[in-house]
Symmetry: C2
Subunit: 174 residues, 2 copies
């Protein structure tokens, strides 16, 4: 199937927001989505954007049964290793179920890596749930290492009240 | 012990670079450090910086036996959740061994959270090796969750030749 991958524009945020929700439904956690296309527009299209996004688009003749032509997205941002320098982090990679098996996911992933290369990024990282065998296999087949399995890295998170407490305990300037 | 936490300046990059190496020695991987203070200056003090950094400074009378007054740092950057919005990631938190036990690590951590709060960040995340019990305990005591243990998140990485391959396989524009 023919498809095109391009940088998302502000005007694509509604479609990206629609797919973020589809992905959350697939992950059985749709009630976790607290942001809308307005936040995406604000945070991705400002000076010093918090993220960048690519979308996959199919021609009109291949549109979905609902009439959609934007059928996948990859949302990523720049991170930093104090050992290696510039790196990238892929937050979401999604292709609508009826468009899978056409190389669109692989195309999005490769395009993110290509963008990273132009910025001299030396790593592309992401996180996968341990029960998500299809995704683990997808990335492993493309050469990625599972650092939690091989080196024992654990993800730690502060949020909600414990994050609020931390922020409130910051030393004050004299 | 009296100490001050402030945003790192370009002029602090040599000291931050020195502490990055000390941390790598502690982690028994000093040969992994490929970047120097020049890269830190370039990547942290440009338009759209790749990271931000705080340093902890002690007054002259408390300087280290080598005469150092910059005794700790926290290096972090902004990330993004497509469910929750703006988030922060703490890449490194380090205090020189002889200055530990004075609340400097906690001070740096809280200050990062405070900076995040001013930018409306709703999460602060980081990674810890599973054998690093003191660090796991430190964060847990402050309320952080271990998402690898509780939800099964695994870290996945592309780098070196497999990243190069990915980038080279990106779909070309027609």
């Amino acid at each position: 199937m023919q498809f095109k991958i391009r940088a998302a524009t502000k005007g694509d945020c509604k479609e990206v927001s629609r797919m973020i929700m589809e992905l959350a439904v697939y992950e059985k956690m749709p009630d976790q989505v607290k942001i809308s296309h307005e936040e995406l527009e604000r945070d991705g299209f400002c000076q010093n954007p918090f993220f960048e996004c690519l979308v996959a688009e199919v021609p009109e003749e291949h549109k979905s049964k609902e009439g959609l032509t934007i059928v996948g997205y990859a949302l990523y941002f720049y991170t930093y290793s104090t050992w290696k320098g510039r790196t990238q982090y892929l937050e979401d990679l999604y292709v609508m179920p009826e468009f899978r098996g056409n190389g669109i996911g692989k195309g999005l992933l490769s395009k993110v890596a290509e963008v990273g290369k132009t910025k001299e990024c030396v790593r592309l990282q992401l996180s996968v749930l341990n029960w998500n065998k299809p995704s683990l296999d997808f990335y492993a087949a493309k050469g990625a290492q599972d650092l939690t399995a091989s080196e024992g890295w654990h993800f730690i998170r502060f949020d909600g009240q414990n994050l609020e407490n931390l922020a409130n305990e910051a030393p004050k300037d004299e």
